[in-house]
């Protein structure tokens, strides 16, 4: 007999205590979605079934007990920490799910200045962690725009990346050790070592699992010495995005490693730079680290830029002011809510990665198709913010007016059709449809095309670690095998 909602809630109270089990309607409604359905949320429209409860855990033993129970009773569990996900990864798509919230596990456990690592529980806000290590002259090097609200568990679960990635890498380069709990209640602690060759790197079962295989309880990330005084900032304007992409490649291939390498096209740039670069693309480089290294990187980049007369230098103060105001916090999100409700104009994003040989084509074809096929677009642009020797990402930013469309229809009329164009064109051209936000529940339509023959490995991992399929149903792998209207081949 199927377990009832009340029975689920009672058991949760037994495990974590009544104070840590929330069943208020407003909290449950808010827990059914993440920023992917923000327009619906702003309109108080909730299409997903309400979870049975939001359950706040305080230690790994509680996580283990909850998961073991849910595994036995086939209850869907949605792991969550900062609630800043953007791809539907936090949606509760089946009845009587549990949203398992680790935000109360918010202790910074150890700052190890000798081994240059810091260990924190999953619910530590990244900005708090960064502020704490900076007191000792260190930095994590991790700075996504969600830094003021995102928490360590979610950042590892989604394979996040930050603004300084070109120097420090993504979370996969930063993660030294991690503790996680599997659906059968097994607690696994992967120790932090500099490197090892002791079988496949099992951290990667945890990194990027998006709560579909395990619940992260503790992370250890590397530290670097923080040298803000040696940061050098450079900005340039130019006419063509394609020229900018070539320049980014040149900087990377020549061997320079700025911490920030960003390129905005004119449309996306409108939001940020119209006071000094209207109608222009903008390139930004920041170097940092010890003085000699930072300066050498900066000088090398300047030398490259001198050979590009199509680029005009921009005053440093303009870039510094812009950078200081880049991050999102709870206040910005609230501002957005009012603005969206008043203007019915919504901003969404899709971030992809591409090899150098394909990125220009992807940029051009996506812009062309979206403009031709999607109505009511007010902005369609892109910026590149993470560079590699073998390619780059593109962060498509698009705004649209919501016209003659109920809130729950918005993603079908606008967001998903746009995403379909971008994902399919990117995969066709040899890129990846998800650079750093995760698959969530809304890129599952193209997961088979994304992985091709290697989908076998994802499916096996899921089957091995979550045989009863209780972890975040519908994430990474689609919920059902029935006809998927967003995937024409199925």
């Amino acid at each position: 007999m199927e377990i009832t909602r009340e029975e689920i809630v009672d058991k949760m109270r037994e495990i974590v205590g009544s104070d840590n089990v929330v069943t208020d309607k407003e909290v449950l409604e808010d827990a059914t979605h993440d920023r992917f359905r923000k327009y619906e949320g702003y309109n108080h429209v909730f299409v997903n079934p309400l979870p049975a409860a939001v359950v706040f855990v305080n230690n790994k033993e509680e996580v283990s007990s909850v998961l073991r129970f849910c595994d036995a009773k086939k209850i869907n569990v949605v792991p969550r920490t900062g609630h800043s996900a953007t791809e539907g990864g936090l949606e509760t798509i089946v009845r009587n799910s549990i949203v398992l919230d680790g935000s109360h596990m918010n202790k910074i456990l150890n700052i190890d200045a000798v081994n240059m690592q810091v260990t924190a529980e999953c619910g530590v806000v990244l900005e708090d962690l960064e502020n704490e290590v900076r007191k000792q002259g260190f930095t994590t090097g991790h700075s996504p725009q969600s830094k003021p609200i995102a928490m360590m568990g979610g950042l590892v679960a989604t394979r996040s990346i930050g603004q300084f990635s070109t120097l420090y890498g993504g979370i996969e380069d930063m993660l030294a050790g991690v503790e996680t709990v599997f659906p059968d209640g097994t607690i696994c602690d992967i120790k932090a070592v500099p490197r090892r060759s002791a079988g496949p790197d099992i951290r990667h079962v945890v990194l990027g699992n998006e709560g579909a295989m395990n619940f992260i309880t503790k992370v250890t990330v590397k530290l670097w010495k923080y040298y803000p005084e040696y940061q050098e900032c450079m900005g340039f304007t130019l006419d063509r995005m394609q020229d900018g992409l070539k320049i980014m490649r040149e900087v990377m291939v020549e061997g320079y490693r700025p911490s920030v390498a960003r390129l905005y096209d004119a449309e996306d740039g409108k939001e940020h730079f119209s006071h000094f670069a209207p109608g222009k693309c903008v390139i930004i480089f920041v170097t940092e680290g010890p003085q000699l290294v930072s300066h050498a990187n900066a000088e090398g980049i300047r030398k490259i830029m001198k050979n590009h007369p199509e680029c005009t230098p921009v005053e440093t103060k303009l870039i510094e002011t812009w950078f200081a105001n880049l991050n999102w916090d709870a206040a910005r999100i609230e501002e957005e809510r009012k603005e969206v409700l008043e203007t019915k104009n919504v901003c969404c994003t899709t971030e992809i990665s591409a090899p150098w040989s394909a990125v220009e084509h992807i940029y051009e074809v996506c812009a062309k198709r979206v403009m031709e096929e999607i109505p009511d677009i007010t902005v369609f642009g892109a910026h590149a913010s993470h560079c590699y020797s073998n390619g780059i990402n593109l962060y498509f930013v698009y705004w649209y007016n919501i016209v003659d469309c109920a809130p729950d229809e918005e993603i079908n009329k606008y967001h998903l059709p746009i995403k379909k164009i971008i994902c399919e064109e990117t995969i066709k051209a040899g890129g990846s449809m998800c650079h750093h936000h995760g698959v969530g529940k809304h890129r599952t339509h193209w997961i088979d095309k994304e992985h091709g023959s290697a989908l076998y490995m994802i499916k096996k991992l899921k089957a091995a670690f979550d045989p009863n399929g209780i972890m975040n149903i519908g994430t990474i792998l689609p919920y059902s095998e029935t006809k998927d209207k967003w995937n024409e081949d199925k």
């Binding site: 709870a330 206040a331 999100i333 609230e334 501002e335 809510r337 009012k338």
Partner: protein, 316 residues
């Protein structure tokens, strides 16, 4: 040297006594005497003030449109010699000052936050660049200005000192509505609230509507004042009349507790004259830090319970 103080009467005695309490001591320090010109759309009740020796004119308007008030003041000034005219702070004060100055052909300055007498005239300061800078003007007499002076501008001399007496009004002729005003109706009233020496001010750092409501409810229950930064009101989480700053109320409480306030200059103008500012903000680098007396660099959620418990002992 005599000046004319122009005050809008909204039906409450405070609408007259409060600006007078602010201005009279300042006038005394600068060596002015003052006459009072009060105008409004309601007949004045009897109320008492002390320390005011000048004439008190009252003029009833069917509708107090700024240019008609300005014309009425012009007519009054034509009969008397005034060193200057000061429009007390209220919604129309700047517009009134401009129109009066035009009709009188006097120099004007609007939104004056401080002034002192110099040999050549009045040196008036006002905020510019959204309160990030201050501009000083030398205003020669005869002049017109609109004031946004802080409550304690005048220093120690209190309007309440001296023997309180009823104001004896010198009534001027009632002014009918202008021809362009076809209809007028009341939509909402009683928007204002009594001021308290303790203000709880909420900014964008307070991330939930429920939390804003909680702070407001606490303030109301305990007789404290409550206000928000403009973005909080524009978010729809508070009424427009709760706005503090250049676009709302300019206050001078004894104690301000600023919760989730960044300290942007346009808001800060509204609390700048506080006797003491305690700010609660997670960002120790926010502008409010160096503009506060004491700072708690923590999430307000960790602090509110303790704060409320403590403040409850000082209920007004």
């Amino acid at each position: 040297m005599k000046i004319l103080v122009v005050i809008y009467y909204d039906g409450s005695a405070e609408s007259v006594t409060r600006p007078l309490a602010k201005l009279s001591p300042l006038q005394a320090e600068m060596g002015f005497s003052a006459d009072l010109y009060v105008y409004g759309e309601k007949d004045p009740d009897n109320f008492q003030i002390g320390n005011f020796e000048g004439r008190a004119y009252f003029q009833r308007f069917e509708v107090a449109a700024a240019e008609w008030v300005a014309e009425a003041v012009r007519a009054l000034v034509a009969r008397n010699q005034y060193y200057g005219v000061i429009a007390a702070d209220q919604e129309q004060a700047s517009a009134l000052a401009v129109l009066m100055a035009n009709k009188l052909d006097y120099d004007f300055v609007t939104g004056v936050v401080s002034m002192r007498k110099e040999k050549e005239g009045l040196l008036c300061e006002r905020p510019v660049y959204n309160n990030n800078l201050s501009a000083s003007y030398l205003l020669r007499h005869p002049f017109v200005l609109s004031e946004k002076l802080p409550k304690n501008a005048g220093g120690a001399t209190s309007l309440q000192a001296g023997t309180p007496r009823n104001i004896v009004w010198d009534y001027l002729e009632k002014v009918p509505a202008p021809a362009w005003l076809l209809e007028k109706s009341l939509i909402e009233e009683n928007l204002s609230r009594p001021e308290s020496p303790v203000l709880l001010a909420v900014g964008m750092g307070v991330s939930k509507r429920e939390d804003v409501n909680r702070i407001r409810d606490f303030a109301e229950k305990n007789g404290f004042d409550f206000g928000v930064s403009r973005p909080v009101a524009m978010r729809g989480w508070s009424g427009i009349n709760d706005i503090i700053g250049v676009s709302g109320r300019i206050l001078a409480p004894e104690i301000t507790i600023a919760i989730g306030i960044s300290g942007a200059a346009a808001f800060y103008a509204g609390i700048e004259q506080s006797g003491y500012i305690l700010s609660i903000n997670t960002d120790p680098d926010a502008a409010i830090t160096e503009r506060s007396d004491a700072v708690i660099a923590d999430d307000y959620n960790n602090v509110l319970d303790g704060l409320f418990e403590l403040l409850s002992d000082y209920k007004r």
